[in-house]
């Protein structure tokens, strides 16, 4: 009888332990990752920031950005040196294994670069200058670029994702996307549905500059609407809202909530309105520079920054952020002037305005504000809201189907003007809806020289022309805001990569 009683009580006790919310809280960090369902758990095939962030928690790269010192340090590499301006030699860290036990070595690095350069990879366009990797021995590689690449270390740090070759070959792309494997501080456990993903601490993690994860489990949840993120936080169902997915309109409410805390930091993210100056979408109206200038004058950026971003953003005039190397602030500006916008439209042959399809997937309030401003000068919009469907939205954009689109770009956390200018202003790139041959060739030249003064000059000239041509409406640069349970120690960083492995409880 006594044995039975002890058994029942033991089971009872264990059940309480495993199902208790307080216990679960200390064991698990629950992060509301955003509104886009988690489908492609492969950072090479999506531009979704949430996957990039998760990758840097489950995976590593040869180099790592120390967010406190703001410098790049070795991670999966032990050391590196430039053999010549086009060759870097890396000594790789020994004894590192992927989560499935597969060893990390030179073969894995070579395999990864080949994979990332394949057609279909969305990072391949950044790696075109990465010519090849020579394997010197199991733990030494030489990376060769076709020309001196000024952003090579940034690219290696942020997007040279390291894949396990044997596992990837065995399960294929689809298999990997269902169960990603890396070397990082957290390891994948399950992906119950597109709304929830679970990781556990990697007990064998080598540490390195990231250090071991402090909270045993990491759970990422997806909420279909931004307001639900706040509900989850207030009701204790989530501990943290991922940086930049938080809707700033909720800030006054958060400020009055004693259980919550806000952390913010300036980041590189830029918000802008793209207009189809090339007529790719079949809409010709934006081929006329006067129309593009009219749109620039029609939009009240100050109001957007104040109300949609609650002043956690700065008005932008140039296409780059002040954090990009090569940022040029002294460009042509288009003050808010609806009367001038109407005049320009009339001059362009649209005295009664026109109607345009307007696509957006971020900041609904800012998008609505833009639509209202345009309507005030006679441009009616068919507002196509694609919130929570960033991948589909961006794919449509790349396919040339969006005559006018509100976009945000975090530059893959590469602090160089090329990271935002090359994908959108080099002729024939998928994201280009307007450029000039001069701008395009200047950007190509900037990508192939390591003379930083020369590059700065090229970026500056290109930004001035882009502003004069009014290809975009640069709206603002935003700040990363993390809203969290006040008992959680967590800091967002300037590269917009949330390091959940560094989070801890008070």
């Amino acid at each position: 009888m006594n044995k039975t009683l002890v058994l029942i009580l033991s089971v009872f006790f264990v059940l309480i332990l495993t199902d208790n919310p307080c216990q679960a809280k200390r064991d698990t960090l629950v992060v509301s990752l955003g509104t886009q369902p988690l489908k492609l758990l492969n950072p090479a095939y999506t531009t979704s920031r949430q996957i990039l962030v998760l990758y840097h928690n489950w995976g590593d790269t040869l180099l790592y950005r120390d967010p406190v010192q703001r410098k790049i340090v070795p991670c999966l590499a032990e050391s590196y040196w430039f053999v010549d301006p086009k060759t870097i030699e890396f000594k790789l860290r020994k004894g590192v294994r992927f989560h499935n036990g597969e060893p990390f070595d030179a073969r894995a690095v070579k395999f990864s670069l080949d994979l990332l350069k394949r057609p279909g990879s969305l990072v391949s366009r950044f790696l075109t200058g990465f010519k090849e990797i020579d394997i010197v021995d199991d733990y030494t590689i030489r990376l060769k670029t076709s020309s001196p690449d000024p952003t090579v270390l940034e690219l290696i740090t942020n997007i040279l994702f390291i894949y396990p070759p044997d596992y990837y070959k065995k399960v294929g792309k689809e298999g990997f996307e269902k169960h990603p494997i890396g070397t990082g501080p957290y390891q994948f456990v399950s992906h119950k549905n597109p709304s929830e993903i679970l990781f556990k601490v990697n007990p064998d993690y080598f540490g390195g500059p990231k250090g071991k994860a402090k909270i045993p489990h990491l759970k990422g949840v997806i909420m279909p609407e931004e307001i639900l993120q706040m509900e989850a936080l207030l009701s204790g169902q989530a501990d943290l809202i991922r940086s930049t997915t938080f809707n700033q309109e909720q800030l006054p409410f958060v400020n009055q909530s004693p259980d919550l805390e806000i952390k913010s930091v300036e980041i590189i993210r830029t918000c802008f309105l793209s207009m189809d100056a090339m007529g790719r979408s079949g809409v010709k109206v934006f081929k006329d520079k006067r129309v593009r200038m009219a749109v620039n004058h029609a939009i009240n950026k100050e109001k957007i920054v104040k109300y949609a971003f609650n002043n956690f953003a700065d008005i932008a005039h140039s296409v780059t952020s002040p954090l990009h190397f090569g940022h040029e602030p002294d460009v042509m500006q288009y003050p808010y002037d609806p009367a001038k916008a109407r005049r320009l439209l009339a001059e362009a042959g649209y005295p009664n305005g026109f109607t345009i399809d307007f696509f957006a997937a971020i900041s609904e309030t800012a998008s609505e504000s833009i639509a209202r401003d345009l309507e005030a000068v006679g441009i009616k919009t068919n507002f196509k809201w694609m919130g929570g469907r960033w991948d589909s939205y961006y794919k449509m954009f790349l396919m040339g189907k969006t005559p006018m689109a509100f976009l945000t770009w975090g530059s893959y956390s590469i602090f160089d003007a090329s990271a935002i200018m090359s994908p959108f202003f080099i002729m024939d790139t998928e994201g280009c809806y307007g450029t000039t041959p001069e701008v395009s060739s200047m950007l190509e030249e900037a990508n192939q020289t390591i003379d930083q003064e020369k590059r700065r000059e090229l970026f500056s000239k290109a930004q001035k022309i882009i502003a004069e041509e009014a290809f975009w409406v640069p709206l603002c640069t935003t700040k990363a805001i993390s809203v969290k349970n006040k008992d959680l120690n967590f800091q967002p960083f300037y590269d917009e990569i949330d390091r959940y492995f560094s989070a801890s409880w008070d």
């Binding site: 307080c22 609407e225 207030l234």
Partner: protein
């Protein structure tokens, strides 16, 4: 004897753990009120009133009738800026004390008997009527907080509100799409 003591100790520890570690009903209720306050705040943000709904004081006013906990949860927002206006939140115990103009009225369940009278008094005025009482929209109210705080299930997140769009339109109000997406729409006269 030693074994029995062990069992008692074990049993006591288990009970103590349950008592200490489980969130109290009070905590849960408080969280529920915070969430209700959050949604009320969002209705203030994402509902558009006609300009005629505002007087020279240019305040946006919320009246809370019969829900003291919700009032306490929303009280810290008093005096804050809301779309360029000052936010006011007031608690009322009687219908006759209500001061005009107000833009949102939340009617707590304890006031159920007064609902027809309240709705009649503000009929077709630009006032958003909100409640967490069952059948509120059938009674002619505009917004029923139905599944506030419910976690997701296999089919996703349950809709948070029921919105009587006919009543909303009659009052000259517009509810933005982000709230409508969280709602089941009903058209009750």
């Amino acid at each position: 004897m030693f074994k029995i003591k062990n069992h008692i100790l074990f049993f006591t520890a288990a009970i103590a753990f349950i008592v200490l570690a489980s969130p109290s009903q009070g905590t849960l209720a408080f969280k529920q009120d915070k969430v209700k306050a959050l949604y009320l705040y969002n209705f203030l943000l994402f509902v558009e009133w006609p300009e005629s709904a505002f007087d020279e004081k240019d305040c946006i006013c919320t009246a809370i009738l019969g829900d003291d906990l919700l009032f306490e949860a929303l009280k810290p927002m008093r005096g804050k800026a809301m779309k360029g206006r000052k936010m006011l939140v007031e608690r009322y115990e009687n219908l006759k004390d209500l001061e005009r103009p107000f833009h949102v009225i939340f009617i707590g369940s304890s006031m159920k008997a007064l609902v027809p009278q309240i709705l009649d008094q503000i009929k077709d005025e630009p006032v958003l009527t909100v409640s967490d009482m069952e059948r509120f929209t059938q009674m002619g109210g505009m917004v029923f907080f139905r599944n506030i705080g419910s976690p997701s299930d296999k089919t996703g997140y349950p809709k948070r509100f029921e919105i009587n769009l006919a009543a909303v339109k009659r009052a000259g109000l517009k509810i933005r799409s982000r709230l409508l997406r969280l709602s089941d729409i009903v058209y009750n006269p």
